[in-house]
Symmetry: C2
Subunit: 128 residues, 2 copies
């Protein structure tokens, strides 16, 4: 399937941007690992819902996207205003811009492994 | 050239692991951007040499590697003992393990753009 994972991944990001978290099971296995910890789909869904509650203007912007036979790597860009605390940082509604670099492994057409780094150092330096 | 960038990138990592920083010009343009800042090859070389001085047992371990037509994405893993301060963190020779997630853009067969995130939050939590 040419560009299969690329298309699936962009549909996943579209679902996040359109706040269709109920659709998440189409893109993510019932059991996955998140930064090498075992997570359930429900936990992953709750994490994404929590991000959305903290960041009402959350938008996932794909900056770099690479795919392999069963892997996706993506640099996501965020330009948003987290309310209160986010990732242990008291942002308090100020506008910040930052990157997330994520590697995903797919089993079939769904995500089975997520390894994510978020640029918290940049968020902190923007708040100084 | 099938797998061209993959082979070039693995040769670049081998050069770093074998401490052949004088070879860096084979893999990196004279002018590049590092996290969207203009850098020279000499600056990049000095940054890598500085990492090596701070971390005598530095080894670059490729965990995830994806390539596109002119891009490489890599999750690197480090298990090492930075002496003194590293990335603004006083590590003082203790052993830490952490990831770096990097996206590279190539122009021809050399790196022209590096976008890197290092998991400093994990380093800090391992030192607690």
């Amino acid at each position: 399937m040419p560009d299969g994972l690329r298309g699936i991944y962009l549909n996943y990001i579209a679902a996040l941007n359109e706040q269709r978290l109920a659709d998440l099971g189409r893109f993510v296995h019932a059991d996955l690992t998140y930064n090498d910890q075992p997570w359930s789909l429900a936990q992953y869904q709750e994490r994404l819902a929590d991000d959305r509650r903290r960041i009402p203007d959350l938008h996932y912007d794909v900056q770099n996207l690479l795919t392999g036979p069963d892997e996706v790597a993506c640099r996501l860009w965020f330009d948003c205003s987290p309310q209160g605390e986010f990732l242990g940082i008291e942002v308090g509604g100020r506008r910040v811009a930052f990157a997330e670099h994520v590697f995903y492994r797919f089993r079939g057409d769904r995500i089975a492994e997520v390894r994510s780094l978020i640029d918290t150092a940049s968020i902190r330096s923007q708040l100084k």
